[in-house]
């Protein structure tokens, strides 16, 4: 085994960090969460120039065939910088949807995404899906779509939606693409926990021509599931990045903050808190390495078990690290003026999208035989 980064990976990670230190900051973040603009044209262009748009996608599709681990380095750097630039939500997720659909039409759309010509968002969940993508009441009937999707990232700033729905006739799932500006598409949005914007999209007798239907049947479900699994690993990477920053800032603070005439880091209880955070962070990071590796294998049960175990673990341990970071900071930790509280929100946000701890525990159990029934008759 080898956990070392290749020289290309080191370069990639370093360049991401350098880009972020030069182009992103806590002040930019504060502006961003206060505004309606999540896709900043200048930074969007720079990420394109850095090759990030193409990184997750195969060379045949015009990408750079980066591994899941490669892409996780970007997500991790974004998390460490507290950046909510929606690279994962508006590049990787729709792009992976298109790539996994794997049709000439989808490939053509993917090319536009990689080239930065058009922007996209994925509309996968209904308001009552919880985390079950299979559940949707967005229905295609007689060439017309009706229904409502929720949790659509930054819908107000993108050109196209890729939407998971089903056919009225035979309940078959479909994935279709539609311009946000199209008649029959309405949306409203609100700010969500991490400061980005999330939309509710209503289809009101949207006429859907056949060329907009990207995929039908179990292929549609598989493409959506694979895309979500892929970005779930990236969210885990972002959580690790954010938790690393929160931990390091807290350690630093414990060394300078004085109470009772001494640094609070000299109190044994604070020391043990920090050691617990540090040790837990190492464990969580190991799970991320595991998931970037095993999450990319062909076998669906194996990859989903790996991804779910990682997310389930992080939803407990990384959230606890973020909470403890606030506690050690005391009063200043619960204010909007310091970044620590924002890291906490950022991590909480990630812990709640595309499956929380319970969802992933349960999926892990399904994929590893822990739900299989025993036939008591077999017993001696």
């Amino acid at each position: 085994m080898d956990f070392n980064l290749s020289s290309e990976q080191k370069m990639l990670g370093d360049s991401a960090k350098r880009y972020l230190s030069q182009n992103y900051s806590f002040d930019i973040y504060l502006d961003q969460i206060g505004s309606n603009m999540q896709i900043n044209p200048e930074r969007w262009q720079k990420m394109l120039d850095l090759g990030w748009f193409g990184l997750p996608f195969s060379e045949e599709n015009g990408g750079f065939s980066g591994s899941l681990f490669d892409v996780s380095l970007i997500a991790r750097a974004l998390g460490e910088a507290l950046s909510i630039d929606p690279y994962v939500d508006n590049i990787v997720l729709p792009g992976k949807l298109l790539e996994f659909i794997s049709s000439p039409t989808a490939d053509a759309w993917l090319k536009k995404l990689i080239d930065g010509e058009r922007t996209f968002s994925a509309a996968i969940y209904d308001v009552d899906s919880h985390y079950d993508i299979n559940h949707t009441n967005v229905i295609l009937e007689d060439g017309v779509v009706n229904g409502q999707k929720s949790f659509v990232s930054n819908v107000g700033e993108v050109d196209y939606l890729i939407c998971y729905a089903r056919e009225a006739s035979d309940e078959q799932p479909i994935l279709f693409i539609v311009a946000v500006e199209e008649e029959g598409v309405e949306y409203k949005d609100c700010r969500v926990l991490n400061g980005s914007r999330s939309g509710v999209v209503t289809f009101n007798n949207l006429e859907l021509t056949n060329d907009k239907i990207l995929c039908v049947g179990s292929d549609a479900t598989a493409a959506a599931q694979r895309a979500i699994d892929y970005v779930t690993v990236l969210e885990c990477a972002a959580m690790i990045g954010a938790a690393t920053a929160a931990y390091e800032k807290t350690l630093e603070y414990a060394k300078i903050r004085k109470q009772f005439g001494t640094h609070i880091g000299s109190f044994q209880v604070i020391q043990h808190y920090l050691v617990d955070m540090f040790v837990e962070l190492q464990q969580a990071e190991s799970m991320l390495f595991m998931a970037t590796d095993k999450g990319a294998v062909k076998d669906v049960a194996e990859s989903q078990a790996a991804i779910s175990s990682c997310k389930a673990y992080l939803c407990k341990s990384v959230v606890a690290i973020a909470q403890q970071a606030i506690q050690i900071h005391g009063g200043i930790g619960v204010t909007e003026e310091l970044d620590i509280g924002h890291y906490f929100r950022f991590i909480t946000h990630l812990s709640l999208i595309h499956g929380d701890r319970d969802f992933h525990m349960s999926r892990y159990m399904k994929r590893t035989g822990l739900e299989d029934k025993i036939c008591a008759v077999n017993m001696a």
Partner: protein
């Protein structure tokens, strides 16, 4: 041992229920039940309603305008208040400066300040913490220099909840820097409209404005605003810390939060069913309910011993620690069980379920509850020293 409410108490409970059902304004009730924050107007409106009924300063003796309730009655009132969807009241006037005034102040001061508190007309805030005196309160630096019949106050307070609403602030100030640090502290009442006071907002991570920095720049305070003698500030501060407060555990509101969670789980569609169908969710509710029960009965023990005129037993020492931990756990459970619905931050219309939508702000807000009023770590240090003799 008798763990039932008496008939008189049950009667009292009915009276409270009935009064609440008639007197909680609808707009206040709706916001409170959705877990939203009240603005100053609504908060004061509710406190004045209680004030005019004589039910605001519930811990006060009758002679100062309190209702003369015992701890059990206060507990019953608090539970019924939360059940009725009515908000809690601000502690600074009623629970903090009030008892200080009627225990330490002279008659003139009592006559001047107490009526405004009892009625809910005067809003107070607390000037204790400073940037470099958080857990280590005695290190505070804000100075009050006597010049004639005035103190000249200079310095800065921080984490001052509701300073932007308050008419008055009670402050710990240093009147003597030549003696041991605890000995040079005095307790001063300051009108927030005095020139030289500047209030700057601190926004909390729930996105709201609760906290402030308060700057004092040559603020002139009449000497008659000193409570007790110079140098008594630390004694008064310690008195307040140990002052009986049977609502410190937050049982009533936590109970209501768990009910809210159950309601939300039952009323939120998930696939072809509802969130309640998830057995892990219900198991988590059960664990919280049982943890609350342990807290509630521990609180009952404190309430009962208060009413029996006994000193607080050891069981009361952990109420703040366990109470705040449970508040955080319940709040985290609501957020996590809401899943994607808990991501909502500033939606006006419900996304799936408004209770889940609003839960996250409270979750964020409540990260502070293990910090303020002495962090839980400080609480443990104190218990180790005082009770365990370590």
């Amino acid at each position: 041992m008798n763990l039932e409410f008496s008939d008189t108490e049950k009667e009292f409970q009915k009276d409270v229920q009935s009064w609440l059902s008639d007197n909680v304004p609808a707009d206040i009730q709706e916001k409170t039940q959705n877990g939203e924050m009240l603005d100053k107007t609504l908060q004061q409106k509710w406190e004045q309603i209680l004030g005019s009924k004589g039910w605001l300063a519930t811990t006060w003796p009758k002679q100062y305008g309190g209702p003369g309730w015992n701890a059990t009655q206060r507990y019953i009132f608090d539970v019924e208040r939360a059940k009725a969807g009515a908000p809690g009241t601000s502690p600074f006037g009623v629970s903090m400066v009030g008892p200080v005034i009627f225990n330490f102040a002279n008659q003139e001061q009592k006559d001047r300040w107490l009526p405004g508190i009892v009625s809910g007309d005067t809003l107070w805030c607390q000037g204790y913490s400073e940037p470099n005196a958080g857990s280590d309160l005695a290190s505070l630096k804000t100075s009050a220099k006597k010049e004639g019949d005035e103190y000249i106050v200079n310095g800065q307070k921080i984490w001052t909840t509701q300073a932007h609403w308050a008419d008055m602030i009670f402050c710990l100030v240093r009147t003597d820097s030549t003696v041991k640090k605890q000995q040079g502290i005095s307790f001063l009442l300051i009108d927030m409209n005095t020139p030289g006071i500047e209030v700057r907002a601190i926004h909390s991570i729930d996105g709201h404005h609760h906290l402030n920095e308060v700057y004092f720049n040559d603020v002139r305070v009449p000497v008659e605003n000193l409570v007790g003698q110079e140098g008594m500030g630390w004694t008064i501060a310690k008195f307040l810390l140990t002052h009986e407060r049977t609502t410190i555990a937050g049982v009533a509101d936590t109970k209501q939060e768990i009910e809210r969670l159950k309601h939300a789980l039952k009323n939120t569609r998930s696939g072809s069913g509802v969130r309640w169908d998830d057995p892990q969710a219900r198991r988590r509710v059960a664990e919280l309910e049982i943890d609350l029960m342990a807290l509630e009965y521990t609180n009952f023990r404190t309430v009962a011993s208060t009413d029996n005129g006994n000193p607080l037993g050891p069981e009361s020492s952990g109420l703040k620690i366990k109470g705040t931990e449970l508040q955080q756990q319940v709040s985290q459970a609501i957020v996590e069980l809401g899943g994607p619905l808990s991501l909502a931050w500033d939606n006006k219309e419900a996304i799936g379920n408004m209770e889940f939508n609003k839960a996250t702000r409270r979750y964020n807000f409540l990260r502070a509850c293990t910090i303020y009023g002495g962090t839980n770590e400080i609480q443990k240090n104190v218990i180790a020293k005082m009770l365990l003799g370590l």
